[in-house]
Symmetry: C2
Subunit: 201 residues, 2 copies
DNA sequence: TAGGACCGAGCAAGCGTTTGGGCAAGTAGG
DNA sequence: CCTACTTGCCCAAACGCTTGCTCGGTCCTA
């Protein structure tokens, strides 16, 4: 026996089911979504899901992995091409908003059910990836301080923490009734706020 | 029969139980916390809780009401004393961070279980209060624009949305391992970021 | 005729809640 | 001072329902 029991053969149907599940996770969170709801969305019975997945957690696992791979890869290439921290940060901000809207489900899951996931060994890679992401941000902020481009009294870690959480805020606005902003408007407003603040002059 | 069945007599024990429940809600959210966990924390059986409350929702209701009363009242008196929008906003920011750390449970509940609560008539006051809060912020921001104190191209509603979510971010950092910031550091960093951005000069 | 996709029915565990009763501390009445 | 009754708090056991998941069998397609 050299193979694992169920290594996740990526059939077309399976991929579609994950997308359906992700849509539900994006709105209600992971724990608050039931397997029966997922099955309903797919037009099958809940038990039939287990022909494709060996557990509900496996679905969540795949969604989270895809998200983190995307983000980590994007950040690496964002800082690769330049040594101007302001440029790098703007790239990271723009990439983040795009990536986050691509992975709304992962975001909601991390926000609502972080305690649930991070407590399991199976999801240890969450912490690993988060650490690399944090380091990338801090490196750029510190570099900007040394260059004299950013304020010298800046607490890089504090700013990172704020930014990290700020960046994924607009993602949760998608279905807000009334006027809604385009992604460009949001990211521009955000960048302006980040670099210059709200003061005139 | 002229009185309601169970109008919530505020006994001492009852108040204590609410506090215990709030601590759990603050860490796991409302739906993810079970009545048995609350009872365990109090050293009693789950059924015994129903001597004090008629439902789990009633506990949540009381926590949310207290929070919103606090915030709405605080904002009213924050804008009352001055007609300088920059002063008013700084007051609101400082008051918010204080209030939010006083009501961590309510915050987590609104963040994790907003869809659950806002769908029920019983919690209609949530939307009402939120609307007043939003209007208060927007009024001050618009006033600052007219004064020429804030950038004229500022989207007040967008900035409010960002601020609202940004402000309650640090509250979720309470038990972050490693270095943790004092509330003053956070709010100062936040105010600096808000007004001036991260750029030098 | 073999295999992938699904059904139908059900399981154990966990959920919020109900019910009936026990036990101690107070408060009258004789 | 003893008794009877109320009141506040809690236990023990269970209810009906939902949860994630299992399993044998059936259908369709190739």
């Amino acid at each position: 026996m050299t193979t694992t029991k169920k290594a996740a053969p990526p059939s077309e149907r399976r991929t579609h089911l994950i997308r359906l599940a992700a849509d539900l996770f994006a709105e209600k969170g992971f724990r608050a979504t039931t397997v029966r709801e997922i099955a309903d969305a797919a037009g099958i019975l809940s038990g039939s899901l287990y022909h494709h997945f060996d557990s509900k957690e496996s679905i969540g696992d795949e969604i989270l992995r895809e998200f983190l791979d995307d983000v980590v890869g994007g950040y690496r290439s964002a800082v690769a091409g330049t040594d101007d921290p302001r440029v790098a940060i703007e790239r990271m901000v723009r990439f983040s908003t795009a990536a986050l809207s691509r992975h709304r489900a992962a975001l909601t899951m991390l926000q609502n059910d972080w305690a649930y996931f991070s407590a399991q060994k199976r999801f240890a890679y969450l912490r690993t990836a988060m650490r690399e992401i944090e380091q990338t941000w801090i490196d750029q902020l510190e570099r900007g301080k040394r260059d004299g481009q950013f304020r010298a009294d800046l607490d890089a870690r504090l700013i990172y923490r704020l930014l990290r959480d700020i960046l994924w805020i607009p993602t949760s606005w998608k279905q807000s009734r009334g006027k809604s902003w385009k992604t460009d408007e949001i990211v521009d407003g955000l960048l302006r706020l980040l670099f210059d603040g709200i003061n005139a002059r």
